[in-house]
């Protein structure tokens, strides 16, 4: 059950934050409100009348709009087509002859009225995520919504874009609309919300006002006091382990996703790669792991060339890898915890050889590692898919840290992971650093990068714009994430981003 007796009241003209961890049931609740899922019991009352929503059609008719976490835009359509879809202006005819001019005009009108610049003729697939989100908001607003639901809208935005979005939300509320803002980010909640409802495990566990302290909100959200800071000592960097030079990698469409990256990660340090999702981080990591052949450049670990090596060899030469998409690349959901723990070493002693598996050795080591990595599972034989996201991630981390490592790469290590597990995973990453492994962490959550990293490389459109210290003000890193390099952030000498100054 994702939701269990939730009560929520939203007043006109307010920004109501729905705060909860990943998997707490926020999105499920909102999908019920939007008619995508049907509640088993309870009622939805809009302006005093009880309503049932069998499909989004009913919700739209009742004045509810939603901006989904994963954008609901057709990539090959223009902005105007996407906005018109479902509520097309037509000039009649048996199939409904489209009135494109009126659709365009409606888009421009709404876009101007709310200060959300969009180009009606641009193809959505060519737009950056920030612009796609504006399209989503305009799409909802052209339908005359009274209540706008935004599901984790800031996950894909730079800090500056987030500021802009919060301003838009404020403006909407002032014009009398209600805004439901779903998030797990405490800072944003306190900056914008009029009221806060906290959800944990499908229940409302409390309401709060925006002046509530952050750790108080976090405790409410998690159910116990949590430490939001990553505990660590200053790094003691040693020899350079990972060396990338002139790396060029293309994405699936043949576009350069990584465009000339030079990067060094030393033993005993955490290098954090900050950046908005989709700026080449994924391809960078895949290239290092041998999952995506680079077009040019070299990748070396301890002066050994990795380009052209199979992924299996790379992993066994001492590289640990936590992939960003856990469910497709990190675990085999149908396999047991024990099996997932030996996915990398099943054909090696003590777990087995080329012909057989040693069930006993696998079971023993599984029991050991489940304890060591605090994996909350009914047994070592439970299918990994039945565990929570956080525990699945612990299985991945446990497996990848069980080999002797020279380099550890974690991509989005805490995405979809509950706060309790985040603490644990962060402490393991720091521990790995302390024993002298070179660590590369990629995350689109700036707070995570600032907390973990000893040096931060900001990636933008396939390039490293600058390498900064984690003490750099957030705003400055935020500007870099948006590709703006003319602040006081001085890129290290020799960084490719240095030549880019002054493009704004």
């Amino acid at each position: 059950m994702a939701n269990d007796h939730i009560d929520l009241t939203v007043e006109p003209g307010e920004v109501h934050a729905l705060l909860g961890e990943n998997g707490a049931g926020k999105s499920t609740l909102m999908n019920q409100l939007y008619g995508l899922l049907q509640p088993d019991s309870g009622e939805i009352v809009v302006d005093g009348t009880p309503r049932t929503f069998r499909s989004p059609r009913d919700a739209i008719a009742a004045g509810i709009g939603m901006v989904h976490q994963h954008f609901m835009l057709v990539p090959v359509f223009t902005v105007a087509e996407n906005i018109a879809l479902g509520a097309e202006e037509t000039r009649g005819g048996p199939l409904g002859w489209l009135d494109r001019r009126r659709s365009r005009r409606d888009v421009l009108e709404t876009s101007q009225r709310y200060g959300l610049p969009v180009d009606p003729d641009a193809l959505v697939e060519n737009l950056p995520v920030g612009a796609q989100q504006r399209v989503e908001i305009v799409k909802a607003l052209t339908r005359d919504v009274d209540l706008l639901i935004l599901d984790e809208p800031t996950a894909v935005l730079t800090p500056q874009e987030t500021e802009d979005l919060l301003a838009v939300m404020r403006g909407l509320a002032e014009s009398g609309k209600s805004v439901v803002f779903i998030t797990h980010k405490l800072k944003e909640v306190r900056a914008i919300a009029d009221r806060i409802t906290v959800i944990r495990r499908g229940r409302t566990v409390g309401t709060a006002t925006p002046d509530t302290a952050e750790d108080e909100l976090a405790a409410l959200m998690v159910g116990r006091a949590v430490s939001l800071e990553v505990q660590k000592t200053p790094a003691e960097p040693g020899r350079p382990v990972l060396k990338l030079s002139g790396l060029i990698v293309e994405d699936d469409r043949g576009v350069r996703a990584v465009d000339g990256v030079d990067l060094v990660v030393h033993a005993g340090e955490v290098l954090g790669v900050a950046g908005v999702q989709g700026n080449g981080q994924t391809e960078l990591v895949e290239a290092v792991l041998g999952l995506r052949p680079p077009r040019a450049g070299t990748i070396q670990v301890d002066n050994e060339d990795l380009v052209g090596m199979s992924t299996k060899r790379i992993l066994r030469s001492g590289v640990g890898y936590v992939p960003e998409d856990r469910s497709t690349d990190g675990v085999v959901k149908e396999f047991t915890v024990a099996e997932n723990l030996v996915l990398d070493m099943y054909d090696r002693a003590p777990y087995g050889n080329a012909f057989r598996l040693d069930a006993r050795a696998i079971a023993t080591s599984a029991a050991e590692r489940i304890k060591q990595f605090d994996v909350r599972t009914p047994s070592a034989d439970a299918a990994v898919g039945t565990l929570s996201g956080g525990n699945q991630q612990k299985v991945v981390v446990a497996r990848e840290m069980s080999r002797p490592l020279r380099l550890f790469i974690a991509a989005q290590p805490t995405r979809g992971v509950d706060v309790g597990s985040v603490e644990f995973i962060h402490s393991r990453i720091v521990h790995e650093r302390d024993v002298g492994t070179a660590v590369l962490v990629v995350s689109s959550e700036l707070d995570e990068i600032i907390g973990l990293a000893d040096r931060i490389a900001v990636m933008y459109r396939g390039r490293i714009l600058a390498i900064v210290s984690p003490d750099t003000p957030r705003e400055e890193i935020g500007l870099l994430m948006a590709g703006i390099t003319d602040g006081s952030a001085a890129p290290e000498p020799g960084t490719p981003g240095a030549a880019e100054k002054g493009t704004t």
């Binding site: 879809l85 489209l98 612009a131 730079t158």
Partner: protein, 425 residues
Amino acid sequence: MSHISTATEQDLAEATAPKRFWNRQRRLGTALVAIGVLAAALFGALAPSETARFTLSEDAEGAALSINGQLGAVLFGIVAIGAGVALLVGVAKRWQTTLLGLGIVGFVLSFLCWQVAGKFMPLVDTASGSLELALPLILGALAGVLGERSGVVNVAIEGQFLMGAFAAALVGTMATSVWFGLLSAAVGGALIAAMLAVLAIRFLVDQVVVGIVLNLFAVGVTGFLYERLMQPDAQSYNTPPQMETWRIPVLADIPVIGPVLFETNFLVWLALILVVAIHFGLSRTRWGLRTRAVGEHPTAADTVGIRVRGLRYANVLVGGLVAGAGGAYFTLVATGSFTKNMTSGAGFIALAALIFGRWTPVGALGAALFFGFAQKLATYLSAVGSPVPSQFLNMLPYLATIVAVAGLVGRVRAPAADGQPYLKS
């Protein structure tokens, strides 16, 4: 504002990034040069130095376009080489397709000059024959367009053809009416489509598998009924009336085009009208916008209140009507009776035309005409006793599809959600 600066950054990055040398244009250019050289050298060498006559009338007499076969083979081969060279040297992107077309036409003409040298080829007959052979392919491919643009893969075109052909023969004979035959052909096609739709959309069975099963089902059912019903009493069950050729007075007098387009049967007009209607329907109407949305991103369509499954049902069923009408061609136009498995793979060539035509109605028309021409040429060649086996030309649709799918002729991209059932989370 930040988004303004990002635009500049992108422009910069794109302007400075060096391009891949073997881009599409160069690959195409190289291919054209290769076939051009083949045409000029091989066809030119093999062609006898005699006159090739392309006559406007049915026989060797009357007005004709004439050229020395050898000269023509070499000349048109050089045209293909020229088009290839132009692509290699580099031209603006909008000329790419034109040059590609020119190159292929050059190659085909070079081949014809070789084959026709010392003989004659009746142009009108070739054109109208190609169109007639293309007729079922056009309708079948349109059925595919309707289904697949909404996200349902239709491999069952063959089965729909067969059902349509059978129903047209049976009902046409019993009602002694071409029109009832055509109508029931459409219904027969829709019947198969309904099974496809229910299994694929409602029961989420793999659409390709369902399509193949339905093809086998159609072969079985029509085969059984043919043996039990039609064969014993062909007179009362399997002698459908034939579709008449209609002639539109003034227009039919236009040379070449007139007799091809305006002195023909109703089904040809229906097919051409449907191409235009579906083309504009898809691009300019609410139905089309929604169909494309459902085929590309059904969840997005659902969240704006579009009935995803309903629209898919409607499209697949209408597609079935169209493909069934295409099946009527086999019994009401091409031959006078139904025989077992008479469509013999035409449905798969229609599928090839759909893919070769990049899932667009106009593209499908072009591909179907090209395949129809290849088939017509095959019969012509065997009639004049050409050394080139006609099987080579019959392979053409499949070869062309492989080339298209391999991405040599433009980027072939199916609708993003093609073949994926829609499940609410």
